[in-house]
């Protein structure tokens, strides 16, 4: 017969202060663990949702981001005429020839000149809006093609100075008026400024496109389009599905966050495990006589082992739940930082996924288990006579 579960639970309750201190250590470790994973997941989710699987991005070969890429007008026209490009309702090819540059803008709430950050300015074509269903205008109106007007993503409107409605920006010896603010949901476009493609190219004296985005006629036409583009001797371009393109952009940053998170939590968990060990060893020491009595009553060594293990797993479980509880509040926070790979600002939310919940709970129970194993073994190895003799 097993020792009832309530025995383990009541023991924890009896020594509340110790339990609370041990659990709070574990809570913090689980909190850090979950938060860092949530950050990496949020970043990846944002960039993956930015792309759509039907769209193809074409950039110059070997350029790791749109900003570095250059595509001649002639090459763009050749790609435009590919049979794999879908046709719109007026028969026009569904392709956007875009020009992407970075500008330095001042962040809100910072006085000195050092807190600039790089913001993407995207010169769009007529089909750009059509190709990105996530983008909705929330205030003002859309820019008129051929004018010095821009629309601003909501993350940029929130985080930077001088980009509110009707405010003006100055670059390329021209003044640009913000006429609208758009919401692109949880995607990278929310961290961009959009202007008219030809005007942006003219202002920055960059007579080439940065990237071409087109919709596939059918989702399985990708391989044909890729072969056609990459084998054409007239230019050196490469084609990637938009989803793959944006996932690649999150790789370095997500990996950095994961390595940081894992190494931190491994070090931190040592502290929490030691805490659990101290608690459990003292639980065993204080209850030596009790263990003797239990053994005398006929409970076996493995029952004792199990009872103490359950107690320490319970510590881990409470710690895990509390850590996740606090971590779940982090979902309300949006952070905005520069993505190392594209060198431009990107806003993303902490995202809690079922996978992270599972990983955190396993991690918490693991800490409880490792902390409890040695004390529980000691408890189960006690000799009945010695144990009963203890006061």
């Amino acid at each position: 017969m097993a020792i009832p579960f309530s025995y383990s639970f009541r023991n924890l309750w009896k020594r509340r202060l110790t339990t609370i201190l041990t659990v709070s250590g574990m809570t913090l470790v689980v909190f850090v663990f979950a938060t860092v994973l949530m950050m990496a997941a949020g970043l990846q989710k944002t960039l993956v949702e930015t792309g759509s699987p039907d769209n193809v991005v074409v950039v110059r070969k070997a350029s790791s981001s749109e900003v570095m890429s250059t595509i001649e007008r002639k090459a763009a026209s050749i790609v435009e005429m590919l049979p794999e490009v879908a046709a719109g309702n007026r028969g026009q090819p569904m392709i956007a020839k875009e020009c992407v540059v970075l500008i330095a803008l001042k962040k809100k709430g910072a006085g000195q000149s050092s807190s600039h950050s790089n913001v993407v300015v995207r010169g769009i074509g007529t089909e750009s809006m059509e190709l990105r269903h996530q983008v909705r205008l929330t205030a003002g109106r859309m820019l008129r093609p051929g004018s010095s007007e821009v629309v601003v993503g909501n993350s940029i409107a929130k985080g930077f100075q001088g980009v509110g409605l009707q405010q003006t920006l100055t670059w390329g010896m021209r003044t640009w008026t913000v006429v609208g603010i758009f919401d692109a949901g949880n995607t990278g476009f929310s961290s961009e400024i959009w202007g008219d493609g030809d005007q942006v190219m003219q202002a920055f004296r960059r007579p080439v496109y940065s990237s071409l985005i087109f919709k596939l006629k059918s989702p399985d036409a990708f391989d044909a389009a890729k072969t056609a583009i990459e084998n054409d001797p007239r230019f050196t371009l490469e084609a990637r599905r938009e989803t793959t393109y944006y996932r690649d952009q999150s790789r370095v940053m997500a990996k950095f966050l994961r390595i940081l998170g894992l190494s931190l939590t491994i070090i931190f968990s040592t502290g929490a495990i030691i805490g659990a060990m101290i608690t459990m060893y003292s639980a065993v020491a204080n209850r030596t006589a009790e263990i003797g009595t239990l053994r005398a009553l006929g409970f076996r060594r493995r029952n004792i082992l199990l009872a103490f293990l359950v107690e320490s797993l319970l510590l881990g479980f409470i710690g895990g739940c509390a850590g996740l509880f606090f971590a779940s509040f982090m979902q309300f926070i949006t952070i905005s930082t520069v993505n190392f790979q594209t060198f431009s600002e990107l806003a993303f939310k902490f995202t809690l996924t079922p996978g992270i919940i599972l990983q955190s709970m396993i991690f918490a129970l693991g800490m409880g288990l490792i902390g409890g194993v040695l004390p529980a073994l000691r408890a189960s190895r006690l000799k009945i006579v010695d144990a009963l003799r203890a006061t």
């Binding site: 350029s63 900003v67 390329g172 030691i274 101290i278």
Partner: protein
């Protein structure tokens, strides 16, 4: 004196618990020290910046170039001593994992502006005379086993194609705060290649490095430079090197702040562990305290006993942690040298370690002390621990 003897005996009475706690503290202080060092190594570039140097770049953003013709105009400004220029090349060595910063610069002026890069005279001469020549930092050369005379091929990401260089010199840092992982080559070599592939983009530089005659006139010179290119196609933004480097850190501010916050979390975790140990110790010794009170010891003596015990335990652990930080930092900088070229444990970090140890000991002892003082002698004696 006797109190101190008791205090030390108490601290190591339960050997298992004390050593576990000490181990925990050592790990926490080690983690705290390493995290603080990571943060300070983020700022290493700012610390190393000279007040004699200004950086001029395109006002729109760093990705836009400036015409080479600005060199002479900047040189004419009062207070300017040396003008050098360069481009971020962004080349990849073999594959993307082997990241190191690589720039093309105007070699004579650039190394005149950076006296902290120490070059062997003969090597320097052969670098200056070879247009395909390149200079690598000591750590970088050691990492890939390069020797002077080797051919190094980089794949361009901004400038397409593969580019061959001959390593002519290896620079050493004047002291250990100098970044020894950079790679430089001739701007003229890049410009020649650019002329071939995109004639329209030739004769452009990414940034100007401007040396001033006296540090106190730097702001005035910066203003003068920006003023001379106002309302031109390429307006400039000139900052001191320090402000320029700070700008880069400000971009990844969110991450630096996160690491900073996390470094304090580890202190809280270990505080919980130590507080737990102290709570257990005092609970077990309630009887002892009652006896001491009967013998005439006052609240003050009990405070000394408990706080002293907490201090002894935390300081033993902290000392171990601090001592371990140095070899750990060495391993860390060997493994992650590409991310953190300068990784040194600063004196400030050690002071913060000690302050953290005090804080842990103090906060962990408060509640148990409170309990121990308040307990009545009769209750204390009655309780069997």
């Amino acid at each position: 004196m006797m109190l101190f003897k008791i205090l030390f005996r108490n601290a190591f009475h339960n050997k298992l618990r004390s050593s576990l706690t000490i181990l925990g503290i050592a790990v926490a202080i080690l983690a705290f020290g390493l995290l603080r060092t990571v943060i300070s190594s983020f700022y290493a570039g700012v610390e190393a910046a000279s007040t004699m140097r200004l950086v001029t770049r395109n006002a729109i953003s760093i990705i836009f170039p400036l015409p080479i013709s600005y060199t002479e105009k900047i040189r004419q400004i009062n207070g300017v001593k040396t003008v050098s220029y360069g481009n971020w090349f962004g080349g990849i060595y073999i594959n993307e994992r082997n990241f190191f910063p690589n720039f093309c610069v105007d070699p004579t002026t650039y190394f005149a502006l950076y006296p902290e890069f120490v070059l062997d005279e003969a090597q320097k001469k052969s670098f200056l005379t070879d247009r395909k020549g390149a200079v690598a930092g000591r750590k970088l050369a050691a990492k890939y086993g390069w020797r002077a005379g080797d051919t190094i091929t980089l794949k361009g990401t901004i400038y397409p194609g593969t580019w061959d260089f001959v390593l002519r010199a290896i620079y050493k840092g004047r002291d250990n705060t100098v970044d020894e992982t950079q790679f430089f080559f001739h701007w003229a070599y890049l410009n020649e290649g650019v002329k071939r592939i995109w004639p329209g983009y030739a004769d452009k530089v990414g940034f100007y490095m401007v040396g001033v005659t006296r540090p106190d006139i730097a702001p005035e010179v910066a203003f003068q430079i920006d003023e001379s290119f106002k309302n031109s196609l390429a307006e400039t933004l000139t900052e001191t090197e320090k402000a320029f480097n700070l700008g880069f850190i400000a971009m990844s501010e969110a991450i630096v702040t996160a690491i900073q916050m996390v470094s304090f979390v580890v202190i809280f975790i270990i505080m919980a562990v130590v507080a737990n140990t102290m709570a257990m110790t005092t609970r077990e010794r309630t009887g002892d305290y009652a006896i001491m009170k009967t013998l005439g010891f006052g609240a003050k003596d009990i405070i000394i006993l408990i706080f002293g015990e907490a201090l002894v335990i935390t300081f033993t652990g902290s000392l171990m942690g601090i001592v371990l930080t140095f070899p750990a930092a060495k391993i860390f900088s060997r493994e992650l040298g590409t991310f953190f070229p300068v990784f040194l444990v600063s004196a400030k970090t050690i002071y913060m370690d000690i302050a953290a140890a005090f804080l842990i000991a103090f906060l962990a002892a408060i509640i148990p002390t409170h309990h121990a003082i308040r307990i009545r002698i009769a209750d204390g004696l009655r309780r069997i621990g």
